[in-house]
């Protein structure tokens, strides 16, 4: 493990992490207040207006019946990907560098999924009937349509959100217990409940590890399938430029790509503002940088393939869709996406770049802007140029949509800020596993025993 954590003792880990929960400065309240305020103003207020007025409050029209709401939905599902998936893969491959960052990565998964689910509600025309898409016995004796890729999507996301919340919760139990043992009052009661009577016996540890590994194995195929299924919403159609077999791997890679970039952003923020500098180190940024480089290359390759198969098909509709994507109304966005997601990440070849925090932060944000653009273009360019030229059109997002996109970011930040004060955002027991055992000299210290 990195030398930087070597001078830390077990007790220091507890002290640092629990401090991040218990001690709350005015800075935090300002941040939370701002985030919550922006959420109310930019997300819930325009959404209420849209519920009252109808989806027409957004800029969608014919033929652009899908717009930024769906793009945002894919974006947030994508962002959710790296968290739990990365955590699972690294857990199974025994990568020690995972341990300091996985908790916040998994939280990112959970909250992105929640925001994505909210976007489904924002997207549909009559969200008050959204439960009809769930299979439950009802007085209408109606099942949802099991042939629909959208229904697969409901199932996949439902499973994924359940799986990843159990995963993050189970991994946090020993840490809840540790906090329980070091707090008093209502916090003590809350963590007593959350830790479900964890005592730290050998048997409990053994079971936890077994169950944790089991879930990790379970979640990896789930994560892959979720985004494949999201891609089928598009690929199962016969719209030119959407009807492609490459879409499932394309979406999965894109999801992991934007998710990894998201983790870099979140880790930078945690490091900077939560004083986790000793736990989240250059090693993490170095490794994530390498991962970003590989993912960007795969992503670029798939983009090339997409263009090639479109051209190779020889169909006039596909050619028009391609021409429109590369040189049409939305072309500046396309080339922006290429610059941010295919060209800029090549900087990660240099190890000096990977280990510098601020450039990595800028890159990670650029990648996610590019990836958002990608999702927008998938929806926007393809629907604008379909088979019948008479029905061609252009879709431009309205102010309500833009506001809701900004607001969703604030919603995510709000959820995350609440999270860091409730759940230890660095896994204490796993960080301790990477450290040397305490030296036998300070016998008197009562703090040195593991939780």
């Amino acid at each position: 493990m990195p030398t930087e954590t070597n001078d830390l003792q077990y007790a220091d880990v507890h002290r640092d992490v629990i401090r991040s929960i218990v001690e709350t400065g005015p800075q935090y309240y300002i941040a939370l207040g701002t985030a919550f305020g922006v959420t109310l103003l930019c997300f819930f207020f325009p959404w209420s207006y849209q519920l009252y007025y109808g989806i027409g409050a957004a800029g969608m029209n014919h033929p652009g019946v899908w717009g930024t709401y769906l793009a945002s939905f894919i974006f947030w599902i994508g962002l959710s990907h790296s968290g739990t998936l990365l955590s699972c893969v690294l857990h199974l491959t025994h990568s020690t560098w995972r341990k300091a960052m996985y908790r916040s990565a998994e939280a990112m998964t959970l909250f992105s999924l929640m925001v994505a689910a909210t976007f489904v509600m924002v997207h549909v025309g009559r969200p008050w009937f959204i439960h009809w898409a769930l299979p439950y016995p009802n007085q209408m004796e109606m099942w949802p349509n099991f042939r629909s890729p959208l229904l697969f999507d409901v199932m996949a996301i439902g499973t994924y959100i359940t799986g990843s919340s159990i995963f993050i919760y189970m991994g946090s139990i020993p840490d809840f217990a540790a906090v329980r043992d070091r707090t008093t009052g209502w916090r003590n009661n809350m963590y007593a409940l959350l830790s479900m009577g964890w005592r730290g016996t050998d048997r409990e540890w053994h079971r936890l590890h077994w169950a944790y590994t089991f879930l990790a194995v379970l979640i990896i195929p789930l994560a892959v399938s979720v985004h494949s299924i999201v891609s089928w919403d598009f690929a199962m159609s016969i719209v030119p430029a959407l009807h492609q077999t490459i879409f499932a791997p394309y979406f999965v890679v894109g999801a992991i790509y934007s998710g990894t970039a998201g983790i870099v952003t979140v880790m930078f923020v945690l490091r900077k503002y939560m004083d986790f500098g000793q736990y989240i180190t250059k090693v993490h940024f170095d490794n994530l940088g390498k991962l970003l480089l590989v993912l960007s290359l795969i992503w670029t390759y798939i983009n090339g393939i997409e263009l090639f198969t479109g051209w190779f098909s020889g169909a006039s509709s596909e050619h028009e869709a391609l021409r429109y994507k590369l040189f049409g109304y939305y072309a500046p966005l396309y080339w922006e996406m290429i610059a941010f997601c295919a060209v800029a990440p090549l900087l990660c070849i240099s190890s000096r770049f990977r280990t510098s925090f601020v450039p990595m932060l800028i890159l990670s944000i650029a990648i996610n802007i590019g990836m958002y653009t990608e999702r927008f273009l998938i929806v926007g360019t393809s629907l604008s140029r379909q088979y019948l030229p008479d029905a061609w059109g252009v879709y431009v997002p309205s102010l309500v949509e833009i506001s809701i996109i900004v607001g969703s970011l604030a919603l995510f930040v709000t959820l995350f800020l609440v999270f860091v004060k409730i759940v230890p955002s660095v896994s204490m027991y796993e960080v301790k596993e990477t450290m040397d055992a305490p030296k036998p000299e300070p016998v008197a210290s009562p703090e040195g025993s593991p939780a």
Partner: protein, 254 residues
Amino acid sequence: MSLLDRFTDGWRKYRKPGYYEEFDYHWAMTIDLDKCTGCEACVTACQAENNLPIVGEKAFAEGREMKWIRIERYWEGEYPDVKLRFIPMLCQQCDSAPCETVCPVSATYHNQDGLNTQIYNRCIGTRSCAVYCPYEVRYFNWNDHQWDAPLEQQLNPDVTVREKGVMEKCTFCIQRIRQAKDHAKDDGRRRVRDGEVQPACVQTCPANALVFGDRKDPNSQVSRSMNDPRAYRVLEELNTDPSVVYLKKVDAKG
């Protein structure tokens, strides 16, 4: 009867093999492009018959007009040697419709008349059917519409007024088909006679370019018209199996 029995019973009833192949009627339409003048009388008739909202200037500019049948215009050639082509475009009532498979709540499905029906009350507004439809003939209610007095007096009582957030499209004037079938039943006749039912657009077409009828009856006007050598179907290569057949416009050589 237990829940499981009821379920398996229902399953057997609704999933009988051939449901999608064997229709009671098989309504179809032919559109003779040689006769079509592009006068848009069908568009207006449809508007009046089916309670289509008048969306107003702003919504029209935004591309949100409601036209279950529209006249597509295509210019051929370069000026001055230029030709204008018309093609009325309406729901093609595809027998293997992409919109039916994608709806998560089965708000659009194929009925026993071979019609692609839309259940407004079931629709949750994912708009995926409009994306999946290659003919772009599905229209979404972006907001609630108003009929200023006295326009509300002319709403057709046989047709629903749709609320915001719901998809709608051409139904082949299903209310008229239902009425004709009811009359046939009341008369003790077994089947609807050819020409007994006509959608508003067919009824209105001054050039008689539109022909409607039951494709299962080999002697109906529509069946005979479908055998015309000029017959073709739009985007046939997509295998959606449309029920609307177009008769090609033939230009005189010279």
